[in-house]
Symmetry: C2
Subunit: 443 residues, 2 copies
């Protein structure tokens, strides 16, 4: 039993809050990696200046795949073939997930508005879809059809007419059939075999395909730093780091549920983080025990153990209100509330990507199915970034149509302000329109 | 007359569209300047690692002002004094402008929503203000009270509880009284004497003040590249370059109005751009003449001449529909439509920061007064960036609360999708909750 406790404690640290250890754990880690950034910059510059040959050379070097002009873009035949390869039951599940995602994002749509006023003035805001967006979907050994749906469906609902997908090919040039089928179901218009920083460069600078206006979707550190570098040439959704969960639980929560949710988070990646914040020391002990028990029955054990050791923590607080304070400071990507009456804490939980309330909303419900987006801000960036949403794929344009009556009424104020800022030609453009004798003026 | 024509043609080039010259003019210029970026990176790194002494040292070096802990933050007394210094009529004009800006941005507010479904499931989206934002206001010789209003009022309307302003001091540490009064009127909570890349670093990394979540507002190339570098540590509004206008006008437009609006744009900066797109060669000729005439009566003539020569153009098209096509390709910050029935083109004008319709909506109406924001995307980025708006200062959080009934219904699909992606611990977190015998499970 002493041994087991040691083993548990080595696996997941327990801190009191407030404490120096808790502070150190909550301190933000930066995303910057100068070494990676420099390599990414070189990839982007070469793809931008040397074009398609550089893009294909990097694909061969990093993905081991020989891509040519012929197989760069995925053909309609390849997509039809993918439909033959997928399990029909999984396809049906994907379609039901897609419908949920579509419905949740449709609720976010807002109309443009133009408001006429009594004197003939009209002001307003046009809210319209971007024209061409690129979604990045990780590839390699795994298949992420859910990421395809989560990126492409909101773009489609927003009305983006050209949705382009980039995903790295396998060594034989293949792309996972579930990824292709998900793209077709979601309404992706063009799919390209490319990944990494070179794909981001190609999308942003229009190499091998017309440039896009925005790039969304998560990737590894190379993809993320490439997105930062092309930011401004195109827009991006966010800079995402490793995935994370923070669970707030009280003494009545199921320790098995908390443990299972920890493990579902840390199986992603050795850099994934899982944090339990609870006023119950008894729950903390039970969760640690349950983690060890459940982990023994699951694959990916080394990944989970290392992630828990490096980025796992249990923080003991004096109350659930303090737990909300810790959650706000951490600003987690995923926040589960496993307490009696979880809704009562919603107003106190100000900083999170997505909040999962109650025992039947474990994170995979959101990852795959419920409808809200699983592309979420990480590493504390939920303080300022939002989940991928309809606004991600829209842009706004202001409309100003002043009537002559309103103009004449406003002109003295505008003149005073322009003169205060020392902008005489601004004042002149106003004064000119007040002068009835000016040549070419209109009634 | 031949001489005058030469003079006019040297001042503003005229192109046919389509043509190679027009293509070259429409080609985007990048923002990157590796040399400036490297210097900005050094400033940020030193402020981040060395803290307040480095911040004050840069302020002395770049602004010539000695700032100490005592006068770093602008005092309530200094603001009260500024109220004594400003012209009461200008203050009244500022207040009327502020009210217009407030009203326009209030119309953009959206509520959070939580939608209960029949089986007890609740999904929704919380839309809430950022906690702490930093607005950057250029300083130096000029005063930009309008920029203060345009940044701070939307943040205030959004409900941001902590609005921080940074503006570079004069050599004697002073800040223009109109800037201070505008900040007080708009509801800015804290004002700091700092500018340039060092101010961006201090806001992002919390040097001399608590870090902010987002930095908005235009600045010079140092400020812009600093914003790009801290992007991800905090959010930013956009990366803005030189200001620009594109005017679509037909043969009935006033050449004097077009000329005045060209000049009001190019007085800002030698890098400012002004473009007329028209099917009327007669209007083009008249505008060129009017520019020369009006310019002779205005100050800042060297700035205007150089900007017109470098970045001015008249593009002759075959129709107003083609003019819209050119405007969409340019994606201008400011787009004026000086035609008969300008509203008919609104649906064709897809890419612009703000659209000004008709003869009584010259750009200064929007710069100062009408209500829509004057912080607008430049350099073609209106394809993906929006004017500063309420959403700029809000973040979203998804809410997922599945009922047991919905969970049981959805579980087979979620299990199928998790297994397809090879994420066994995800599947385990679902399966565990289906098992009624699992220890600690809830009804």
């Amino acid at each position: 039993m002493g041994n087991l406790n040691d083993q548990e404690d080595r696996l997941v640290r327990t801190f009191a809050y407030p404490s120096a250890e808790a502070e150190a754990f909550l301190a933000k880690k930066g995303l910057d990696d100068q070494d990676v950034a420099a390599r990414v910059q070189e990839v982007i510059e070469r793809v931008r200046t040397e074009g398609v040959p550089a893009l294909f050379a990097y694909t061969e070097r990093f993905d081991g795949a020989r891509i040519t002009e012929e197989n760069f873009r995925v053909s309609a035949e390849a997509i039809a073939e993918a439909y033959q390869q997928v399990d029909p039951e999984v396809l049906a599940a994907l379609r039901r997930a897609a419908e949920n995602i579509r419905r949740f994002h449709e609720k976010q749509m807002r109309p443009s508005w133009l408001e006429p006023e009594a004197d003939g003035t009209i002001l307003g805001q046009l809210i319209r879809p971007l024209e061409r967006v690129g979604i990045y979907v990780p590839g390699g050994l795994a298949s992420y059809p859910s990421s395809v749906l989560m990126n492409a469906i909101p773009a489609k609902v927003a009305g983006v007419p050209q949705i382009v997908m980039a995903t790295p090919p396998g060594k034989d040039g293949s792309i996972n059939p579930y990824t292709l089928v998900a793209a077709a179901e979601a309404g992706v218009d063009e799919i390209y075999r490319m990944g990494g920083a070179q794909a981001v460069a190609a999308l942003a600078h229009g190499v091998g395909l017309p440039a896009v206006d925005k790039i969304t979707g998560p990737g590894n550190i190379y993809v993320t730093l490439a997105k930062k570098q092309v930011y401004g040439t195109v827009d991006i959704d966010m800079l995402a780091g490793p995935s994370e969960i923070l669970v707030i639980a009280d003494e009545n929560a199921s320790s098995d549920y908390v443990a299972a949710d920890f493990l579902s988070q840390v199986e992603h990646d050795v850099r994934a983080a899982a944090v339990l914040v609870t006023p119950s020391a008894a729950l903390a002990t039970a969760v640690k025990k349950a983690i060890l028990e459940q982990m023994s029955r699951l694959p990916r054990r080394e990944i989970m153990e290392q992630a828990l050791r490096d980025n796992g923590a249990i923080i003991i607080v004096d109350s659930l209100l303090t737990a909300c304070e810790v959650a706000n400071r951490f600003a987690p990507e995923h926040l589960e509330v496993l307490t009696d009456e979880p809704f009562q804490w919603l107003g106190s939980l100000q900083q999170a990507g997505a909040i999962f309330l109650g025992p039947y909303s474990p994170e995979p419900v959101g990852d795959y199915y419920a409808g809200p987006n699983h592309v979420l801000p990480t590493g504390g960036t939920a303080r300022f970034y939002s989940p991928l949403n309809i606004d991600t794929f829209m842009k706004k344009t202001s409309v100003i149509a002043y009537s002559r009556a309103r103009f004449v009424q406003a002109a003295p104020d505008i003149l005073a302000l322009a003169q205060t800022e020392g902008l005489d030609a601004h004042a002149h453009a106003i004064a000119l329109r007040l002068s009835p004798t000016e040549k070419g003026s209109q009634p």
